[in-house]
C-alpha cells in the first residue's frame, strides 16, 4: 500500500464526505429544476382540460365561430392554422435548406459569409412583431397580397427561416468529414457529395429543427394580427388569397369576451392548439430517434 493512503474500505475522510454531499445537492437541484418545468406543464394541462373538456366534441371542431357560445366552433381557426403551417413549411423549408447548404458547403470563408452568418443569428432574435410590421409593408401593401393566408405564410416564413437555417447548418456540420472525404475520393462532385451523402445524413436533424421552428410559428399571434388575420371568420380559406384566422387569435378573441360562456370555448381551443403542438413535437422526436439509430 502507498504510504499516506487509507486502505480501501476505510471510513471516508471529511473530504470524501463533503464531496459526496455536494454531489447529492447538485443532483437534487437539477431534479427540482426539471420538475418545475414538468409540473407547470401538468398544471396547465389539468386546468385547461377541466375547463374545456366538456366543450370539446365533433361539433366544436367542425363548427364556425358564432355569437352564440353553444353553437361556436373552431373550424375556421383550425383550418387557418393548418393552411398557414403547410404554406409556411413549403416556403421556408426549401429556402432555408438551400441557404444552409450554401453557407456550409459552397460559400467561401470570407467576411461576406461571416456578415451573412451574423445577420442570420441576429434575425433569429428579432421580436416577432417586427416581422409583422415588415410583412405588412412588404407583402400586404408592397406586393398587394392583401390580408391573405399567403401574406401570413410569407411573414411567418421570414420569422422561422433564421431558426431553420441555423439548425440545418448544425445538422450539416454534424456529418463527419470522413464521409465527405470518402465520397470526394470516389470522384464525386460537390453536388454529388451533398446530394448523395450529406443531405441524407443531415435530413433527420434538419426536419427536427424545422418542425420545432414551425411549432413555435403555430403559436404566433402578434405578426399575424399585423398582416390582418381576423378574429372572427365564418368560412375556411379556399385559396392562398383568402382571409384567415388562426387558433391563438381565436382563443384570444373568446377569452376577451365579457360573457362567461365563452371561457370554456377558449379552454377547448387551447386543448386543440396543444394537441397540434404535441403531435408536431412527437413527430420531431420520432425523426430524431431515427437519426440516432443511424437510418
Amino acid at each position: 500500500m502507498r504510504p499516506g493512503r487509507a486502505p480501501l474500505g476505510a471510513s471516508p475522510s471529511a473530504f470524501d464526505r463533503a464531496r459526496r454531499t455536494k454531489g447529492r445537492i447538485f443532483a437534487f437541484t437539477c431534479a427540482a429544476a426539471a420538475f418545475v418545468g414538468v409540473a407547470s406543464l401538468g398544471a396547465l394541462l389539468v386546468d385547461v382540460i377541466a375547463d374545456g373538456a366538456s366543450r370539446l366534441d365533433l361539433a366544436f371542431l367542425t363548427g364556425f365561430a358564432s355569437r352564440f357560445p353553444e353553437r361556436s366552433g373552431i373550424r375556421a381557426a383550425l383550418a387557418g392554422s393548418v393552411w398557414l403551417l403547410v404554406l409556411t413549411a413549403l416556403i421556408s423549408f426549401p429556402l432555408s435548406v438551400a441557404a444552409a447548404i450554401h453557407l456550409e458547403e459552397y460559400a467561401p470563408r470570407n467576411w461576406v459569409t461571416r456578415a451573412i452568418q451574423t445577420n442570420i443569428a441576429n434575425l433569429a432574435g428579432v421580436p416577432s412583431i417586427v416581422y409583422g410590421i415588415l410583412g405588412l409593408a412588404l407583402f400586404v401593401r408592397g406586393l398587394r397580397l392583401e390580408r391573405s393566408v399567403l401574406s401570413g405564410a410569407l411573414t411567418l416564413s421570414l420569422l422561422v427561416m433564421p431558426v431553420i437555417i441555423m439548425s440545418a447548418q448544425e445538422a450539416i456540420r454534424a456529418v463527419p468529414s470522413t464521409i465527405r472525404e470518402a465520397a470526394y475520393g470516389l470522384g464525386a462532385t460537390r453536388w454529388q457529395v451533398v446530394r448523395g451523402q450529406v443531405l441524407p445524413m443531415a435530413m433527420p436533424g434538419i426536419l427536427t429543427g424545422t418542425i420545432l421552428a414551425l411549432s413555435r410559428a403555430v403559436g404566433e399571434t402578434a405578426p399575424l394580427i399585423m398582416v390582418g388575420a381576423v378574429g372572427f371568420l365564418a368560412f375556411t380559406p379556399q385559396s392562398v388569397m383568402d382571409p384567415f384566422t388562426v387558433l391563438p387569435l381565436q382563443i384570444y378573441s373568446w377569452i376577451s369576451r365579457p360573457q362567461e360562456e365563452f371561457q370554456p370555448l377558449a379552454a377547448a381551443g387551447i386543448i386543440v392548439l396543444l394537441a397540434l403542438l404535441l403531435t408536431m413535437n412527437a413527430f420531431a422526436i420520432v425523426l430524431r430517434n431515427r437519426a440516432r439509430s443511424g437510418g
Partner: protein, 260 residues
Amino acid sequence: MTTIYDIEVGEEGPALETRDLSVFYGETMAVDHVSFRVPERSVVALIGPSGCGKSTLLRCFNRMNDLVRGARVEGAVEFHGQDLYAPTIDPVEVRRHIGMVFQKPNPFPKSIYDNVAFGPRINNFRGDEDALVEASLRRAALWDEVRDRLEESAYSLSGGQQQRLCIARTLAVTPEVLLMDEPASALDPIATQRIEELIYELKKDYTIVIVTHNMQQAARISDYTAFLYMGKLIEYGPTDSIFTNPREERTEAYVTGRFG
C-alpha cells in the same frame, strides 16, 4: 533540390512522379521540395515519424488537399506525364483515376451493396451493376463474408471487414492507382494480415502508394520505400536496401527504431 536517390522505372516511365513538390498549410511547410517516381504496378511505402508529411504528400496525388482550406501546393505532380495540377485538369476527374483508402474505415451509412455501388452510380456506370459490385467485393476478399447480407447496413460489419468494404468501394470505380493512408492501423493483426495479402494481390493490376507506421509491414509488402523526415524526402530506394543497407544515418536510425 532534386531527389538524392532515384530508382529504375523501366521503359514506359513512371506512373506517378513529383518534382520539387512542396505543400503549405498557411505559412507552415508540410512537404518540402519532394521529388520521387513511382513505377507502374509497384507498391511504394511512405514511412517516417508522425507529422513528417506522409499523408499530406499522399493527398497530393488525388488532389485531396484541394479540399483543405489554406492548403497550397507548389511544384509538379505527374500521372503518366500529365501534370495533375494543370489548369485544365478537373480534380474530380483525377480522383476517378486515382482512388484512396483512408486510415479509419469510413463506410457510408448505407447498405453494403449501396456502399460499393455509390462510386459507379455517380460516375454514370452503364453496365451490369450487380456484377461490378460482386467483382469488386471479390477483389477485396470480402465477397464470401457478405454475399448473403448485401442489404444489411455497412455498420454491421467488423472494423476489418469495413476496411475491406472501403477498398472494394474504391475498386468499383476502376482506378489505376490506389493511395492508402495507414489502411491497417485501426485493425487487429489478423485483419491486418488480410489487408496485406490483399495488397499483394492488387499489386498485379494497380500502382499502390501506402503510408504505414509499421516497419515490418513496409518491409513485407512494398517494392520501394520512401523515408520522410520533417517534410523532406531523406531517402528513397528499393525496400531491401532501405531496410538492410540505408545510406542515410537518419534512415537507419528510424528503421531500426532508434528514433521516431
